[in-house]
Amino acid sequence: MTEPVEFTLDGRPLSAVAGQSVAAALIDAGVRSWRTTRLRGRPRGVFCGIGVCFDCLITADGRTGVRACLLPVAEGMTLVSETSDSETSDSGAGGDD
């Protein structure tokens, strides 16, 4: 077995298995939602699990709007939930029309 990976979510220390995605690490830690929606403030976690739906967006080491289901968890990683009042992202060029 490899050494556990230590990381934090909103300052709370958690640990994961090396090689896991951030989403998997959070679910294993009992966290099922880490974002609230812009309009209704509803909780969201992982839905599609493969990078298609963008429900699982999280701020990782200062980078906003990262898909937690695709990002590998890393030692010392600082994760911050994206709540409706904190959500700021420069990655807004995806919308069509």
Binding site: G19, I50, S91
Partner: protein
């Protein structure tokens, strides 16, 4: 800036791996771009350390392709670019220019090639249902991805619902891992995949596979309930329970089968391919037998756009074995069309690993593709999306998860504001305008929009939804960098 790859392959799942490896072995210089960190796609997903000890279905094929991929990289004829998503593709005088962005941490860049094989794969098709936006409700493929790729259990007590054979491996994998699976709810009545005997008999291994899953469900005492659907999901901060309903052949609710407490709901209504790159290069598309938009290809995997080949789910959802055969054929065709390094005239005459077996190889691939396509068609016909699913919605049900557009708002745009097609519905009510660009709600929105005139969505409706001028979300900094005056780093062969 003139140096370019002979062939760019987008996607390193079963089709893309087979295409890239085959083409490189034929002497082409290949660039392989993939969104994931590791090769294998959704089907051959595996944890970082190794492929799971238990040899899964088709694992031998994957190991063989991965071994060849490494060998070709070592020889310097194949460049593998993982963790990168293509967000823009355009033609230039010598072929194609692909602009990609890092999926997670990789830097963006540009890849130029003479020809292009698109193997974008697909994802679970979804239908909205009241409460499906609660945490703990997931795509069946996502539940499987957490388990296969991370050994993570998405819940302790699960219900698997939707339609199609994929519900079975998800249910058995969860049950094997210790999750209590309270039911597999199959909306259709399936008398075995042999309903269309021609299709099912064409791929006998599939019948054996189905028996294996059935045995596993029995062993774990997981009930397989046909003509049953999850018609509502309950909870406040996360899923707490579901309502199961007995439905008729069209999906209309006959009787309420009661409320079942669960902490995980896995939903899947078959798969739908990612078509944005196919439409971006201007290749012809059509509506497949399962209602999904797919690429038109000829018997050599050529798309209608010059220098473009398509293989795998994007030509019609049909599974990994079909994808591998199509990918291999696409690789051979591309090598033949481009002439490779050798003066090849036709695929039939290409030397393969030093032997003149090209004709045999192509014949074998063609036969495999025909057989597996027939099976896929039979499977789609046995597992249609039940037409009456919109009856399950309430006006408050979220349809578009990104922009939080409700069923009521979509129907108002259609009925009160006079939107006659899905494009207008999209403009008025904004479903499909968020982060995922309609990948999750597109099908449902198209069905709801078309229902105003009592129709199913047309191929044109699906096309207007599949078109995305920017194929993956990209930062404004990268957009600025893509200006001709400030070229991003080139990836050269």
């Amino acid at each position: 800036m003139t140096d370019r790859f002979d062939l760019a392959v987008v996607g390193a799942g079963p089709a893309g791996l087979a295409a890239a490896v085959t083409a490189a072995e034929q002497g082409l210089r290949v660039g392989l771009v993939d969104a994931a960190a590791r090769p294998g796609g959704q089907y051959w997903r595996h944890p970082a350390e190794s492929v799971s000890q238990r040899d899964g279905h088709g694992t031998r094929t994957f190991r063989d392709l991965r071994r060849r991929l490494r060998a070709l990289r070592d020889r310097g004829v194949l460049t593998y670019l993982p963790d990168r998503q293509v967000w823009f593709v355009e033609r230039d005088e010598d072929g194609h220019v692909l602009r990609f962005t890092g999926t997670t941490t990789a830097a963006g860049g540009v890849l130029r090639s003479r020809a292009l094989v698109l193997c974008p794969g697909g994802y679970d098709r979804q239908l909205p249902v009241p409460g499906w936006d609660l945490p703990g409700v997931m795509a069946a493929g996502g539940v499987q991805a957490l388990l296969k790729g991370n050994r993570t259990l998405a819940g302790r007590r699960a219900v698997i619902a939707g339609t199609g054979p994929f519900l079975l491996p998800v249910a058995t994998a969860l049950a094997d891992a210790g999750v209590e699976v309270v039911a597999v709810c199959e909306a259709n009545h399936v008398t075995g995949w042999a309903r269309n005997p021609l299709g099912a008999m064409a791929v006998p291994t599939k019948a054996v596979e189905a028996l294996g899953y059935a045995a596993a469900l029995l062993r774990h005492r997981v009930p397989y309930r046909m003509r049953t659907a999850v018609t509502a999901i309950h909870g406040t901060e996360e899923v707490e329970a579901v309502t199961l309903s007995a439905v008729d052949a069209e999906g209309r609710v006959i009787t309420d089968r009661g409320r079942v407490e669960v902490d995980l709901v896995a939903l899947g209504w078959g798969f739908t391919p990612s078509l944005e790159l196919v439409t971006a290069v201007g290749a012809d598309t059509r509506k497949d037998v399962d209602g999904s938009l797919v690429a038109c290809v000829d018997e050599w995997q050529r798309a209608s756009a010059p220098g473009v080949y398509v293989a795998g789910e994007a030509t019609g959802v049909g599974g990994a074995e079909l994808a591998v055969a199509e990918g291999e054929l696409a690789g051979l065709t591309a090598a033949s069309d481009l002439g490779g390094r050798r003066p090849a005239r036709r695929v039939r005459e290409l030397p393969v690993r030093g032997l003149r077996v090209g004709g045999l190889r192509v014949g074998r691939l063609r036969a495999a593709i025909r057989r597996r396509r027939a099976f896929a068609t039979a499977m789609h016909l046995a597992h249609p999306v039940p037409a009456a699913w919109p009856d399950w919605l309430t006006p408050e049900t979220t349809v578009c998860r990104c922009e939080e557009v409700t069923a009521g708002e979509v129907c108002r745009a259609r009925d009160d504001l006079g939107a006659v097609d899905v494009r207008t519905v999209k403009l008025l009510a904004r479903p499909g305008m968020g982060w995922c660009q309609g990948r999750i709600c597109g099908y449902a929105t198209a069905v709801l929009a078309a229902a105003g005139s009592g129709d199913q969505p047309s191929a044109d409706d699906l096309r207007s939804l599949a078109h995305r001028s920017i194929c993956a979300p990209v930062s404004l900094a990268e957009l600025a960098d893509s200006h001709p005056d400030s070229p991003p780093p080139d990836h050269q062969p």
